[in-house]
């Protein structure tokens, strides 16, 4: 329905002022002064807003956690420090904190996880990113399979799990150092691979830039890349892809 039609129907009394207003109304924003909470994000994206905790002042963190929990019954915080976890746990006792992934969340887990996202990681040092990705995907409703410590320097470890990996709607490949894992997996599966470079390594890895370049230049098909250590971003996109597979297209 276009502008003209709406206005004509309004004049003709076919629709009320409230209905017309709704058509033109911009999406509501809650302006908290220091921030503008995007409360309709779930309408727009199908996923609720998430809190990037790093460097957020204490008062703000508490306020925003409370507001989201009040509205949605749940809230996901990423990159939360132990101090922030204690803070939120004292305010919201049903919150949970995971040291490895640094995820801080309130999640009644009252929904069924559907589909199958597979999170693969190259080394044990990459776990903090892999778990952020896995738990994010779960928060957004995806079933997750974890296949960890399958870096390419001991290829048989990866080959032993190929059948498991091939079953996923979307694979997340997490790797630091030279980041070759994404290319190898890309050549073995039929569904999309989201590559996450990690800052794990030393010397010329330049805090993950080297792994990022490896993944961007991959010779394999079906690979796209997110920022260094961005497990959250990979989990989010994997959940989107998995949702498409679960929901189908109409």
């Amino acid at each position: 329905m276009q502008t003209r039609e709406v206005l004509e129907q309004l004049v003709e009394g076919k629709i009320s002022i409230e209905e017309a207003e709704k058509f033109f109304k911009k999406e509501p924003i809650e302006n908290m002064g220091f921030a503008r909470l995007d409360l309709h994000r779930e309408v727009r994206s199908g996923f609720p807003e998430v809190i990037f905790c790093q460097n957020k002042p204490d008062e703000f963190l508490i306020e925003i956690f409370k507001k989201l929990v009040e509205k949605d019954k749940r809230a996901l915080g990423t990159r939360a420090s132990e101090h922030q976890a204690e803070l939120i746990l004292s305010e919201l006792p049903n919150a949970q904190y995971d040291k490895v992934s640094r995820i801080l969340k309130v999640d009644p887990m009252d929904r069924e996880l559907k589909g199958n996202v597979c999170v693969c990681s190259a080394g044990t040092a990459d776990l903090f990113v892999a778990e952020e990705a896995a738990q994010t995907a779960e928060y957004f409703g995806a079933g997750v399979t974890r296949v960890y410590d399958v870096g390419v320097s001991g290829l048989h470890r990866l080959l032993a799990e190929v059948d498991t990996i091939r079953k996923a709607t979307c694979v997340i490949a997490v790797a630091g150092m030279e980041g070759a894992l994404a290319s190898v997996i890309g050549g073995l599966v039929e569904n999309p691979v989201i590559a996450v470079p990690t800052s794990v390594g030393y010397g010329a890895n330049m805090k993950g830039l080297s792994a990022l370049l490896t993944m961007i230049n991959s010779c394999a098909n079906g690979i796209a890349v997110v920022n260094i250590d961005n497990g959250y971003g990979a989990g989010y996109m994997a959940a989107q892809i998995n949702r498409l597979a679960v929901r189908g297209y109409e």
Copy 2:
């Protein structure tokens, strides 16, 4: 069925040597001397092998085009020069060449395009990449909607097309210069966005590196990035995602 079982059943005569052989057999490769054709890729990935034409010697290009057409009735070549187009057209008269995307293909188009991938581009100079993405996605079976010249410096052009873009299973955002288009679209849609930086620009864009960094650092959710000018890679992954939506998950 595991190794032990297969061997036991063989000894017990429950399966034939041929059946056991098939279990252990590696996937066949056609070794052409200069190259090893991956003829079973379609089995593994669901998509046939594609030819990266750039810098391929004439004789090799002809041989590989013929072999793929013979096997699959179709073949897709990317980054083909006009010289290569003439070469293949003289050998395979039903081939087609598109100067903008530099795609050279044999494609009877005997299949229905399904789903909906939306390819957005920022400027007219990005068309060569956008069309490579669009035609690749079509080759792999996806329906494609094109929304071109909607760069963020004239935002109303993009906003006028938001409803169209939101309908896609997957959006490809193609942009050079500062590459901000991906972030803006990422905030407007619910399905995944594949960002393609292009080498369009000058000065400090460093042949596309600047746009690549912009996209990798995007503050929006649901964005992953492929290599500079890699329209093919974006089209491939979009087709994978779109296929998941069309096929569903079982």
Copy 3:
């Protein structure tokens, strides 16, 4: 009046030695040993000298604050630590310190703020830079409008404020991560935009270099860029531009 004329007039007694001396005299500098205070900067630029506090030894900071306050009745210090704030407050009790912007100043605020500089920021984490810009512009006499947390990933937040932003003589766009805010604003307003990349982000943002590159490569017109986190520089230049609008040109 040229050298020759001055000398001739001097010899002819048309001007005094003092007048001739004034013609040739270099601008005075106060050499404090460790530094040369540029006391005539206000004459040259119309704005008084400002103190970059970071890493200044305590004794020097006190001495220079006192000298400037004595001369001008006011003084602006940027990037002041809490330690430095305590130090100056104990010496100059009418000084003020703002933790967010790290601005330490003595300012009787005995002047009218004129014109309208609009400071926009992408995220809450960019506030420390945005406030440095806003308070600097105010110190140099500009009226300031603040529009914070309007990053492009939730475009409706920005669009809801477009009319406000368009009213400014100069817009300061502060953004980290991918820094796309500047391009989007650049396409919406008619007056100049000063873009400030911030070091906010992680991974491939390389402490703000990525946002800097985005802004330098902007496809929008009317944008120029200052150094990463340089809120002061943006506020200074915005005050210059705003002063031109207020004063006019004769």
Copy 4:
């Protein structure tokens, strides 16, 4: 007037459907298929759209030049090749082409140039950028003063022109190699300086990146930077600033 009011007035018959429609109507765009002409840009920014000629196909260039001239009686093309100049001159005989700046324009020059933008360049090799800046500022209505070949290695050349430079509402400092000119001018004037790094130089200047870094890190106040060789961008912003000075602020 807000959404609700418009609708109420419409229902109450205080305004017509056409008037209400106008309120909600998006800005018009001319979709030429390959491009979306932003015909209302002049309304939004006060300056007409400009054509970036580089790599534009011949047919498109002709069509867009004609359309703009038809609408505005004038048109500005930047980075035009000699081939493109011949093309447009044969279609629009009153067009003009300048080899140095590569500016191709139709401009009856039927307006008064107002205010004073000063374009300074470091070396003779930087002229192609300086002239692009100067002619762009003139196209957008600014008076321009040119002060060329005043690089810092022979400082007296610059010092001899300080009075001239200080008179401008805005200074454009164009320099390649180490780009120190901008800092030196920044310390001498009271109005804003737009710094343009050029790709002139060799070795470690990395095609202008070195000069860009110099300018971004300038220790002087009142300097902001545009992309390497972006004379157009500097001229545009200088014209905006100069317009503010000429028009004043109300």
Copy 5:
């Protein structure tokens, strides 16, 4: 024998002046004016001097080829152009030129190739480097096995050749784009791997720097890296390692 001893024996008549002179004599160098031919390199390194043909003026190339052939009966030139090949072939009719590797040599092949160096390449586009490596190793006496087009995006091609690769005393892994081949091979063999990044790729591969970084950051053991496209350097070092295996250690 030390300095003192030599002198004492000389004085005592136990050795002649010629013998003492030989002890102190510096290694001879043939100063050709434009160059100093290192004729004793073979004594020092066990391998004769090689000619890097690229950009050598014609006269010099001819002179140096002749001098080496005269002395050693053979000569190896790398990175020779077709023009240079014609030049040398007209002077030395028994010379040979290979277009792919750009190796131009005079080699009677009157020696037995010993040991086994395995040269692996990722794609057909990497052949020019792989062949330079292979032919260099052969020139220096090593037997060579070629395993080409075994990039990691189709892993089964590589796995099918693992037994062959494991037999080598030294493996050369040649790969462009993301360069993951070296890491995968490194995890599969017991002998050293020399990794050669190639400039093959586009976009963010930055002419081979990305592959170089991948290889330097490899998570696998037993890998060291040479310069981009430096097939010669890899072949030289592989020949050294292979020679150690063949000769043994005493």
Copy 6:
């Protein structure tokens, strides 16, 4: 023996199911949950697995040290902190810790060191890397000669040791700052040189990147490079090369 043959012989009773199983069996992996121990690495590479201690959680470190010692009677840990050393020493009293190299190991030293690897370092600040290389090579069975503090700025120190260096089967050249040592040694010896850039230096050495580039671009033959500060990697590869020399080739 190929798949078919194995199966035929099994059916014919020539081999047992166990023997056939062994043929097809994948190499065993011990999945410890958080990690997959590669217990057959020694079979594959001839060298046992090594523990990269940095950032490993305490419990994991203890468990993996114990498991390796139990299996092999020895274990090598690199980049161990003093805290980790105390931890392991309290569990495994026969462990040893070296502060300089940060190597933590259990090593009964019940084997003969063979051959001769020479480790050269440029400055005293490079010792931590040089010792990691030397002790790694010894752990893997190589005899080691240390030649330290022979940087090129005092060339006579290096020249005095040339005869010693020439005797090695493989030379490791460790250098920070400008890293020129590798090139100079490369021109003096006949066996391979493994170059290790170190992070020692300041300013434009960019934490070792400058030394890495120097070594990668070396004009000398027979040099390959490992990652910055990667003494372990150099020691490993030197031990491989030395083993070839000791064992010979059959």
Copy 7:
């Protein structure tokens, strides 16, 4: 004598207006429109102005050559193309052109060369830079010794010339690839070394940046660096240093 004194003496008639004028007079500049010739440079620096020919338009080059020759009887042009050489030779028949260094000059050579600058180069490919340095130093009056092709990969070539090199007042070390020559020479001589990185090399040398970094990070004392391929700059500074040695200090 200070401003006041001059004015007083003028009024008192102790000095004439001309003498006072001379005191205040700025240094003269010849404004040629497109350029400002710095005719008094010789007074200021002791060396006449030099022409950087690269990309200078023909007419300008001719005009400036003529003006300098007219004034000084000689002129030095650097980076001149063969076309430019022909141009100037047809106008100024006593001009000379050297293809290797691309130096185009008019030089009657009517002065004695004094002192001793030693120019060393690593390889034959670096000659074009070495000769530019050598001929520049000669143009500015220095005696020059050339020691070419003494790169560090064949150290004995350099060691054989150490006595010659030690005699110079200043050494210029020209090297591409890894640029280690400067460090080695720096450790062998007592006078200053000016290091010139060249763009000679390939792959990770990044057109000379690698050699530049090597030289900047040199562990040897007494080394400073000029831009890549900047033989002119090195020759100029060497001539300054040599002049100090010849003239002495008073």
Copy 8:
């Protein structure tokens, strides 16, 4: 005298074995195990060895300070921490420590400082480098003039000191941020300028790399550059140049 002659004279009894031995003898080195003290450096370079204190273990620092003081009566240590200062002061009570430059030395100052090196610095934050340069030059015998806080953003401060600066045999220009000071000074003096970039600045200055690039690309003549913050290196080379001026050339 050449090898042959020496041997002949020995045999003929014209010289003794000791005299012949001295001819062939390499320069002595004191091998302290962890380091090789270069005791003859003073013979070779005319300047004694200097101690780079940073990261040197306590025992080593003490031992080397003592050894040098014992030999030379004086010793210079650079980049010494306060802890190291206390350490050495307790062992060598006549040592002196300067916090700003971090120079720790024993220096009876029993020599006359000759000539005139001028050290200029741009800002007060650059003092730590400027003082390291100044004190180093003094240690090696040069008279030093200090001209601090003369950055180009307030040009009149520098111009007021031009006559002072012009008197030096060599100027050291120390600057951070954009580093433009070197170019401006280079154009004003006739003797060589050694440019020292400092790490002072923020954002895109990348810890001094930006200033380094500015200085390397300088458009002025007679400038060469040392590493970031390398005041020592600049002071050393300035002392060499100044010594040439003082000593003259014979």
